[in-house]
Symmetry: C2
Subunit: 146 residues, 2 copies
DNA sequence: ATAAATAATATCGCGCGCGATATATTGTTA
DNA sequence: TAACAATATATCGCGCGCGATATTATTTAT
């Protein structure tokens, strides 16, 4: 019985579980939008700045391009983004929002903050707790990112 | 530009990213053990209490049985667990460690705490920060678990 | 005791993540 | 400028997670 190997002492298990459960909490709203959580992340990146190469999106999300490329292909099939080859650098694929993808921002804004805050009503954490949590998570992310 | 839809304001994106990156940090040690992170979670559950039905393992990890069943099937092929039908309840599949699975605890103990603390050396978080983080994550997990 | 409801596990399909590898384009260097 | 290295993206294979559904065994109700 090594304390270091007990499930109840694992930070990583809690991160893994919390991430899964919170992502699941997004599902009802995202289903209404017709997308998944990783697709929603891509949309947030593009809502902030449209027309970005695959690499920039991947770097922003700290994902590999071999994860992002198929994600973008599925989003293209859904008609929410389009891809075109870069003009000065023909290796790049520039990813842009379609009208449908751009219009989804309004609907997301009307669904997601309200939907999440409703579900978070019973969570005992206060604003300052979330702020500290964000800083702690950023410390961990910065420690492990390449 | 809705602040609520900006990537930098998302707790969930940080949970998702931190979970991925910390799980990746386990990979070198787990590769040496020949297992994945979810398989390591199952082993921790069984090291604590051997011979459990699929449901108990799934509940402990807050996973669905349709995730755990194939995970256990792969672990059985690896020779680290065995499954047998319950005697009083023949619907159950009781999962037990093999000798190989039990012996992996020693090796895990020699590899993982040291390997992780080495990688965490550059992380600015202190013991009390981790303790608070654990409590905050537990609040979130308890809010969203069924 | 038999039918219906419930429970435990398994199967299927799909979307990630990611290591490994391939392809095409650009940059660099001899 | 020809060879080589580096870069951007894509493809492939596999292991999750999970919604939906199926199968088998147990429990409950009639």
């Amino acid at each position: 019985m090594y304390a270091e190997l007990q499930l109840d002492n694992q930070v990583c298990f809690r991160l893994y579980t919390a991430a899964r459960l919170v992502t699941q909490a997004y599902a009802p709203m995202l289903t209404e939008l017709g997308i998944t959580y990783p697709q929603y992340l891509v949309l947030m990146v593009l809502w902030e700045k449209d027309c970005q190469p695959v690499n920039d999106i991947a770097r922003r999300l700290l994902l590999e391009t071999n994860t992002v490329t198929p994600l973008l292909q599925r989003m293209e099939k859904l008609g929410i983004i389009s891809r075109k080859r870069g003009e000065q650098d023909k290796r790049q694929h520039l990813v842009s929002l379609t009208v449908k993808g751009r219009d989804m921002e309004q609907k997301a804004y009307s669904l997601i903050p309200a939907g999440m805050s409703e579900q978070l009503a019973s969570c005992p954490l206060k604003l300052e707790d979330y702020q500290r949590l964000v800083q702690e998570l950023d410390s961990i992310i910065n420690t492990f990112k390449k």
